[in-house]
């Protein structure tokens, strides 16, 4: 068991103490302790069924839990959920979806630009407007590709001008290249907006590259700290079993 000594100082945005989540008698998260500071990019890793998405839901107060989840006061938190299958037949345009947030078109265009939608046209603003209207805003939400939908969801989250973004990475539906660009886009948002981020990731390479802190979860806390030190071989074996060495090895190539 790793013990952490957390003091709620000025720049701590989130403090989690002795968090337990149970579904019936099934313990999904056991005695979890960690904290997030302003400007942190915390990656949460772990195998399937480790409780990562459940952790997000507990942090957002969407499910019952015991223990303490303490957010700093007056914090705007946005959430991009993982499970998000949109029916192709659903008659809802991207513009209508984004307008649920009661923001004007200018604001919507601004966030779409910042998540890299229509990036190839962004220097000519008239052209950009026409392009985005035709190819994104007036399309059905269900017609977007996996990667585009992901960006629109992030744009949706950014419309609230959040201080913290919780991003639950989809396990499938986005090609490898697309995933990489989404993370470099998030990284840019992080530095431009001073956005604190909690990312659930399935790809350890992403974690090494983009996160300054990592939390390994397998129902309980396995490791916590900077990726280079926390993700040692014993932590990786506890998380993924013997194949884990492979991930660490691959990282050395970068």
């Amino acid at each position: 068991m790793i013990s952490l000594n957390i003091a709620m100082s000025d720049n701590v945005l989130l403090k989690v103490e002795n968090l337990d989540v149970k579904f019936d008698s099934d313990e999904v998260i056991k005695n979890l302790n960690f904290s997030v500071k302003q400007g942190d990019v915390l990656a949460i890793v772990g195998p399937n069924g480790a409780g990562k998405s459940v952790l997000f839901r507990a942090l957002l107060d969407l499910i019952p839990y015991t223990g303490k989840v303490e957010w700093a006061k007056e914090l705007k938190i946005s959430y991009v959920p993982q499970k998000f299958a949109i029916d192709r037949e659903l008659p809802l345009s991207v513009e209508e979806f984004l307008k649920f947030k009661k923001k004007g078109l200018d604001e919507i265009i601004r966030v779409l630009k910042s998540v890299g939608i229509g990036a190839e046209h962004k220097n000519d603003s008239d052209h950009y407007m026409r392009h985005v209207k035709q190819h994104v805003l007036n399309q059905r939400l269900g017609w977007l590709s996996g990667g585009q939908l992901q960006r629109v969801l992030i744009a949706w989250a950014l419309l609230d001008d959040p201080d913290v973004l919780l991003f639950d990475e989809p396990t499938s539906g986005i090609d490898v290249g697309g995933e990489e660009t989404i993370y470099s886009m998030l990284k840019k948002l992080h530095s431009e907006r001073k956005l604190t981020m909690l990312l659930i990731s399935h790809d350890l390479n992403i974690v090494y590259k983009y996160a300054n802190n990592v939390l390994c979860l397998n129902k309980e806390l396995i490791c916590y700290g900077s990726p280079a030190t926390a993700l040692d071989s014993s932590a990786l074996i506890k998380l993924y079993g013997d194949e884990a060495g492979f991930y660490k090895h691959e990282n050395h190539h970068h």
Binding site: L60, Y79, K83, F84, P91, L92, S93, F100
Partner: protein, 253 residues
């Protein structure tokens, strides 16, 4: 055109507007089957109203309320669609209704009879449908969010259960109103068909709801006119007219 026909057409088309609007969200919530069978529940209510001599609308509305409360509970407690509940409970209540309804009124209860409509009915319909439009406008964004992703809606602290209940309440209202036109067996289809037809032809939500509302009103008007001039039963005629709009399938996006 005589006054009675004019009254039928006005009342019928207003009900069609309401049915189209509410129906558009029923289809999105995958409640087509529920909508279709829900109207059966009205029959025992009508029967009781006839036996105790009060307005069948209120009898029907009372039993529909019980049914939507049941649907609401099932939806809240489980992720399962309310299919089984519909399959068992709704057909059972149809059976009970068939036994309870006095023979002379049975045909009217089953297939509706808008020729018997009064000015008071028009007033009830007008007030109810106006309320439906006002409430739907207020809840439709949140209702849609709940349809897209329950998690997303919850994260925004949208009271999903409350919104769902309000919506199902409107479903009960519109089905009860439509019993005069289409009867307990067919009213469900008047709610579902215009919306299903509109869905084929629209890309976005406002287009979709507008078309559903339009198709609803047009089915009612055209169906009632046809029934009047061909001297056939209005209920099935209205539903069949609505079916014509499924021709939008060729414009499927």
């Amino acid at each position: 055109m005589d006054n009675s026909l004019l009254l039928q057409l006005i009342t019928g088309s207003i009900i069609g507007l309401g049915a189209g609007y509410v129906g558009s969200f029923m289809v999105l919530r995958r409640m087509s089957l529920v909508g279709d069978a829900l109207s059966h529940v009205a029959l025992p209510g009508i029967a009781i109203a006839l036996l105790f001599n009060f307005n069948p609308f209120f009898g029907a509305f009372a039993t529909l309320l019980i049914a939507i409360f049941g649907i609401w509970l099932v939806e809240k407690k489980t992720e399962l669609p309310s299919e089984t509940l519909v399959g068992i409970f709704f057909t059972l209540s149809l059976a009970i209704g068939l036994l309870l309804t006095p023979e002379p009124e049975l045909l009217e209860a089953l297939f509706g009879d808008i020729t018997q409509i009064t000015k008071l009915d028009l007033v009830i319909v007008l007030v109810a449908v106006t309320t439906i439009f006002l409430v739907m406008r207020k809840i439709s964004d949140n209702l849609m969010l709940g349809i897209i992703s329950k998690e997303l809606a919850q994260a925004l602290k949208i009271p999903i259960n409350k919104i769902n209940f309000i919506f199902l309440f409107l479903v009960a209202v519109v089905v009860a109103l439509g019993l005069k036109i289409a009867g307990t067996l067919l009213m469900g289809s008047l709610v579902i068909i215009p919306a299903a037809a509109a869905k084929n032809a629209s890309v976005n939500l406002s287009q979709y709801t507008r078309l559903a509302v339009l198709f609803g009103a047009m089915s009612a008007t055209a169906g009632l006119l046809l029934a009047h001039y061909l001297d056939i039963t209005p209920g099935p005629t209205v539903v069949l007219t609505a079916g014509v709009f499924l021709g939008t399938l060729i414009f499927k996006k």
